[in-house]
Symmetry: C2
Subunit: 207 residues, 2 copies
Amino acid sequence: MRISEQAKQENRSRILDKAAEIFNSKGFEDSTTRDIALAAGLAAGTLFNYFPSKETLAMTMVSEALVQGREDYLRRCTGREELAEELFLFVASGLRRLRPLRPFLGPVLERSLSPFPRKNVCQEGETARQEHLAAVQSILARHGFTEAPDYVAMTMYWSLYLGILAFWSNDTSPNQEASQALIDYSIRMFVQLISGSGADKGEADAS
Amino acid sequence: MRISEQAKQENRSRILDKAAEIFNSKGFEDSTTRDIALAAGLAAGTLFNYFPSKETLAMTMVSEALVQGREDYLRRCTGREELAEELFLFVASGLRRLRPLRPFLGPVLERSLSPFPRKNVCQEGETARQEHLAAVQSILARHGFTEAPDYVAMTMYWSLYLGILAFWSNDTSPNQEASQALIDYSIRMFVQLISGSGADKGEADAS
DNA sequence: ATACAAAAGTGAGCGCGCTCACAAAATACA
DNA sequence: TGTATTTTGTGAGCGCGCTCACTTTTGTAT
């Protein structure tokens, strides 16, 4: 069992390695699970003993990248940042870790993170979303927003975040400055939203 | 040629009718193009003489609904509305027409309207997005925003709009009040964004 | 009518993600 | 060691969206 356990881990990481390679060279949709399995030295069906779907396989990499991004953020965060500043740091840390996966991220994030209701949800995606939102909530809490923001605010946050991911994932501007501007505006907007409705929720009355 | 032309149109609309029926009863993903073609009295392959893909078939219905929604909006619009009010009317008019398609909208909108880069883009989806955004721009223009808002603003608008669609498409609250609140906040946020464009951090408040 | 070209319909078949009945190997127990 | 049990690997095969070589129908010109 020990030896087998180790062999399993090796198989798993060999699948992940080869998958990353193939996804990066041909994109997500043009890569086949058969190719990946064979490249990892396994039969076609065996891949699904390790990952229940092609989507989950890809999202596993995304998930790990986002976890590392979160760790980076915690390491880099001094605790003296403004709210917007800290949110920016958090988002940017995630993107930095996603960078190597960029060539094949589009279809994966679209399927796994989008809030549209679907038949077969990918658990990795759900988890990634929840953990991201939980992190945001904890940042808010540390900045004095003790009551959890309502569903409207968090729904809007997620929409904006997905928009950032989508834009960033094919941003060809030199240093992704275009994305930086988008992140900047999105976060500022979000901060403004929760600042304005935090006390008296719902009655903002603009007209 | 006359008769055949008419037959073609009949086939086309029979496909659309049966597709709507089947999509509504089994959802988009569980419906097969074979079933739809047979239900329309055609061979499996013939369907693709009329629509290049299953996605396009579904998006054709969405597209038509959105066009009708736009007409409704033009009809109902008095021209004396506030900007936010008019945007709300515009968005709500679209949703009203999409209502009958709601049971199968999720996967369709996710694939066709999402801004994530993809291999095979569905032309119907691209067009729908462009027309929607053009309508928004013209509303803005009529309210004094003569210079076209920059890509950041429009990107954020589209993110928020997609979020609204996603939330609304499985909003089970009695009269979709939950969605109404989301639309309200999203639009107000967007108006604030373009009003204060170039404005500095947060505090500005509404004037 | 007849011949012919263009348009429309057909269904076998492809490659995909994924399943599943079974085979092989690893482990547990005697 | 030998046997039973569980775990892991295998690849034929399914159903899907979609293609394409072919047949049938339609329209035109003689």
